[in-house]
């Protein structure tokens, strides 16, 4: 099955500056967080994926080659920009109808879908008012509606919760979570707000200085030192004794209380090693969990520790 986005040695240079450096990944999922500090190459990647700028290597979106089929891709992708991108003097319904027509929908269909998209985005009563008088939250909703109106299969959302108050942010996140469920749209969410990613994304792509640092599930990101390699173990008693026993197998242990310890397993070992060692030592295990960082901590760790992209990229 074709992944939503496939990159193969995707490289983009602006003169001597390498904006994207041999990105290789197959990205799939329902809500994918696109993360990275300023200058990481996220905007350049989006431009490449939309077929707007030339590049080396290969980038495919929905199975289409972005260097050749840019217009077809843009018909099937919705883009919600971070900055304001409205036409002066238009009402929300006029803007969305125009957006639909520009994406190839017949006028009547575009108008019907404009009303539906605005209704969906929560602008039902205000949709005939000029956008110039809208609040930030309402403008964000119009941006979402205009990205949705032509019925895209993927939505690129660029900082959709920027500048929103907590209630409006909550509403926007609800819509983002609802979209894949109700409309079958996959979402690529480019954001700085890691709590948003933690809340809604099931996968993440992390970029830094034009290179891909991580591509995989959020769970993998949070335990990105290696799935299941770092464990939090709770015992009935004698945590010290279990730590000593495990150390003899090559594991690194930190005893955090008489009944708890953290274990870094050797590269090839699994959690079975802990159970086996405890059974041999006659210690009862009460709890065993994979130790996970918050997305924020994981993000910082990924940025700080370059990883092998080949092992990090996961469909």
């Amino acid at each position: 099955m074709t992944a939503l986005i496939e990159l193969d040695r995707l490289t983009k240079r602006y003169g001597a500056v390498t904006a994207l450096d041999r990105l290789t990944a197959a990205v799939d999922g329902r809500i994918i967080g696109l993360l990275g500090p300023n200058g990481a190459g996220k905007s350049t990647l989006l431009k490449c994926l939309l077929g707007l700028i030339p590049y080396q290597g290969s980038a495919r979106v929905l199975g289409l080659d972005a260097s050749i089929d840019g217009t077809q891709i843009r018909d099937r992708v919705g883009y919600m920009p971070e900055q304001e991108a409205f036409l002066a003097g238009m009402s929300a319904v006029e803007l969305c109808t125009y957006a639909g027509e520009l994406s190839g929908l017949p006028r009547t269909e575009a108008m019907q879908r404009a009303h539906a998209a605005l209704y969906y985005a929560g602008l039902e009563e205000k949709r005939y008012q000029p956008i110039d008088g809208y609040s930030t939250g309402m403008k964000q909703r119009v941006k979402l509606a205009q990205a949705l109106v032509h019925d895209p299969e993927i939505l690129f959302l660029d900082e959709p919760t920027n500048g929103l108050d907590p209630e409006a942010r909550e509403d926007m996140l609800e819509l983002i979570v609802d979209l894949p469920v109700r409309r079958g749209v996959a979402i690529v969410l480019s954001t700085h707000l890691l709590p948003d990613v933690e809340r809604v994304c099931d996968r993440a792509v992390i970029m830094h200085r034009g290179a891909l640092r991580f591509a995989g599930t959020i769970d993998e990101l949070r335990g990105a030192r290696g799935p299941g390699s770092e464990l939090a173990v709770g015992v009935r008693a004698d945590a010290d004794r279990l730590a000593t026993a495990l150390a003899s197998t090559g594991a690194i242990c930190r005893v955090t209380s008489p009944v708890a310890l953290e274990v870094d397993l050797p590269a090839s070992a699994t959690s079975q090693l802990v159970f086996q060692t405890a059974r041999t030592a006659g210690i009862q295990i009460r709890e065993l969990a994979v130790r996970r960082d918050s997305v924020e901590a994981a993000f910082l760790r990924v940025l700080g520790e370059p990883r092998d992209v080949a092992t990090a990229s996961a469909p």
Binding site: L87, L105, Y120, E159, E167
Partner: protein, 300 residues
């Protein structure tokens, strides 16, 4: 809205999409609608054009009066007064030129600059709109609006002259007037569409675009005319109003004593207008393509 999302029975769109090559027509329609939206942007100048055209038609009607014609015939005039109205409007007073300049200031110069200012390039180019569709849509939309002012007026006056012909022979003899009015109208439309749109593409805001166009039309034109008067008349071909006037006078076989020193061959004037239009369209395309590549993405 929290907790409540309305979807109005969403269904995936399964119908055909309009071909990419016809997306410019959507921009064309939008451009016309935008021009029509506000009173001062287009309708005011349309009223002025209608008044000018109405005046021209009324003058032709009066000049066709038998008693007036008897007087002019007695004075030995070779040309009927009614035949001179259209060339006078177009070539001597430049009535439609002036309307074209002012209308372009309000209709054409904001067309692209306003999109740059409001971030609308992202709106357009994140969709399957290509720079050439955008440029073509803007040119055709503004062209249609300007044609209503600069082409329809002269055409109506020419048709009125035909309608007031004495007989069929007279009518057939005056048919070329319609073609001449059409030609002048088309050239005027090209000039007053392409040049202000190029100014619009080069500016960063609507105000700058208006200043650029007004500066080009008033300051540059006058500098060229002064330079031509002091050096060689051929330089006057660079001034678009002069080029248009030369073509008009040449078509209607007229000469103006006051500006004889600025007469340029009609062929050279046509080439000048075509070259100006080509450069203007090239500039627009270049600017728009650069904006397309830079416009999508943002500060994420």
């Amino acid at each position: 809205m929290t907790g409540q999302i309305h979807d109005l029975g969403y269904q995936r769109y399964a119908g055909a999409r309009r071909s990419t090559t016809s997306r410019w027509t959507v921009i064309l329609r939008h451009q016309i609608a935008t021009a029509w939206q506000t009173w001062w942007r287009f309708k005011a100048w349309l009223v002025v054009a209608v008044l000018a055209t109405g005046t021209g038609v009324a003058l032709i009607y009066l000049a066709s009066d038998t008693r007036l014609r008897m007087i002019t015939n007695l004075r030995g005039a070779e040309v009927q007064l009614a035949d001179g109205i259209l060339p006078t409007f177009l070539g001597v007073f430049g009535v439609y030129d002036k309307i074209g300049f002012i209308a372009a200031l309000f209709v054409a110069t904001p067309a692209i600059a306003r999109d740059v200012q409001s971030g609308a390039f992202t709106f357009y180019f994140a969709r399957s709109v290509r720079p050439r569709d955008y440029v073509l849509g803007k040119l055709a939309g503004i062209g249609a609006v300007m044609a209503l002012l600069l082409l329809a007026g002269p055409l109506v006056i020419a048709l009125a002259r035909l309608g007031l012909s004495d007989d069929w022979d007279d009518l057939i003899a005056r048919l070329p007037t319609v073609a001449k009015a059409l030609a002048v109208g088309v050239l005027g439309t090209v000039v007053y569409t392409a040049m202000p749109l190029a100014c619009s593409a080069l500016a960063r805001s609507r105000g700058h675009a208006m200043v650029l166009w007004a500066g080009y039309y008033v300051v540059f034109s006058n500098l060229v005319v002064v330079a031509a008067m002091r050096t060689s008349a051929k330089w006057a071909v660079l001034d678009l109003p002069t080029a248009l006037q030369s073509i008009t006078l040449s078509m209607f076989d007229l000469q103006l004593r006051v500006r004889r020193s600025l007469d340029v061959p009609a062929g050279a004037a046509v080439i000048s207008i075509a070259a100006h239009a080509a450069v203007a369209i090239g500039l627009m395309f270049w600017q728009v393509r650069n904006a397309q590549r830079a416009g999508v993405g943002g500060a994420a």
